[in-house]
Amino acid sequence: MEILGRITGWPRSLRSRMLAALFAAFFAFGLFPPGVAIAQPAPTPSASSPPAPSYEDPLDYAVAESNSGVPTHRGRFKSPFAHPRFGGPAEVRVGIVLSNVRNYDIQKGSFEADFFLSLTSDRPMPPMDLVFPNGKVDLSEKVADKPTFKLFRFIGTFSSPLDLHAYPFDTQELRIEVEDDDNGIDQVRLVPDQEHTNLDVGFHVPGWETGYLRARVLSHYFPDRFKHDDLYYGRYVFGLGLRRFGTSAVFTVYVPAIVIVLISLMGLWLPRKELEVRANSTTPMLAAAVLFHFALMQGLPATAYLTRADKLMISVYGILLLHMGLTWLWFVFDERRGEAIYKWGKWIGAPVTLLGLLAGIVL
């Protein structure tokens, strides 16, 4: 100020007014260089609004422990990433509108999803870094980004575990998992928003019937990456249940298997003099069954358990082996017993066939 006075010769009051005007102009036109912080008065908290949260980096004020080297905080969570000064968690309601699901690959469990994700909170949210633990995002569009309301549109590829126990009457769950990579549950508490979780108008996945949708929040804990790694993180999990069409399952799996068995069963009514025809009605059916089963399994990933289709095919194999065995009995026993084998083969073979097939269908 004194230097300015010596240079300009202006009186003190004028110098003060000129400096104030200069600062005002710089402030109004944003002419301060980056890094120059202007101290602004903090907004006065009113009775209705909660105190503004602190956005400082919790690592900066964590206190280093002499024995472990890991800075810690005092309070419920000792983790250096905990933020006790944030002032309690913001309750963030998570809504999703699924617009489209494409390219569902049952072999890999992968699919492409196009969806809107909304985050609405009762108090200002901290800056968030959303990550997708079970997929990757190809397009991320921020439609709205306000302290208490954020709306994103994402298109990405995700993958979900498969459950093929009930195949071909299986229901698969397509999951989208979202996690805030920056903030633990001491800053953000995710809550599934049922009212704002929907499927878009005309939503349809070709070849599948939409069975259910569900959403949950999982508070999870990392195995210790360092000492006092005790902070929990919230993960939002959205699941879309897709059920295979029952009619399609019956006609593509059950009908061919039943036809194979019935053709073989008819062979039991052929007497010994038609041995060649009888043998031809059974043995090729076994080959047909193996090829059919192989074709079915080609469309599915390997599993450690039997699917319903596997159980059906096992019963088909058993039935075809029984029919072959009833024909081979003619070569084992004396020719005089041929008629008895033929007669008992029919009366025992047919009910056992039907029971075996029923067991294969029901089990």
Partner: protein
């Protein structure tokens, strides 16, 4: 002679049974109006198309539907306000896509002929329950395939 006659009788019976299976059925219910929005208006500001959102109050759970109607429907429906409960006439019919569907043909005495090309009408028919793990509610699950209780009260929601 007897065998061909029997075949004809069996085929006729099967045809009747198949045709009977796909026959439309009609139902009546009451709904509560939750949103009425004119979508397109003419030069005088009269609605040409109108969206009506309503809740199936006689069906268990929160079942919502939005239907779009033409200008006659919009003009007729203007006598109602939000929150009014009005009767609806529903047709359950077979859809060529391989499932049963339903259409609202009349609402509060206002005819609403469904347009087969209308893609704006939609429903959110689902039954939601809390998702509880270890005794704590962690989220929710909404079944889109109707449960027995819903179908007993509102059979037109059955798709298969």
């Amino acid at each position: 002679m007897r065998t061909p006659a029997l075949v004809v009788v069996v085929l006729a019976a099967l045809s009747v049974a198949l045709l009977g299976c796909k026959r439309s059925s009609w139902y009546q219910s009451n709904v509560e109006l939750t949103r009425i929005d004119p979508v397109r208006v003419d030069d005088q500001g009269k609605p040409l198309t109108m969206d009506v959102e309503f809740s199936w109050v006689e069906c268990p759970g929160l079942q919502l539907e939005v239907i779009r109607g033409g200008k006659d429907f919009a003009a007729c429906l203007s006598k109602y306000k939000l929150g009014d409960k009005v009767p609806v006439r529903i047709e359950k019919h077979w859809d060529e896509a391989g499932f049963w569907d339903w259409d609202v043909h009349e609402m509060g005495g206002c005819a609403r002929p469904p347009d087969p090309d209308d893609e704006a009408s939609f429903d959110t028919i689902r039954e939601c329950h809390p998702w509880v793990i270890n005794g704590a509610t962690v989220g929710f699950r909404c079944n889109i395939i109707p449960e027995k209780k819903l179908l007993a009260a509102c059979p037109w929601f059955g798709r298969y």
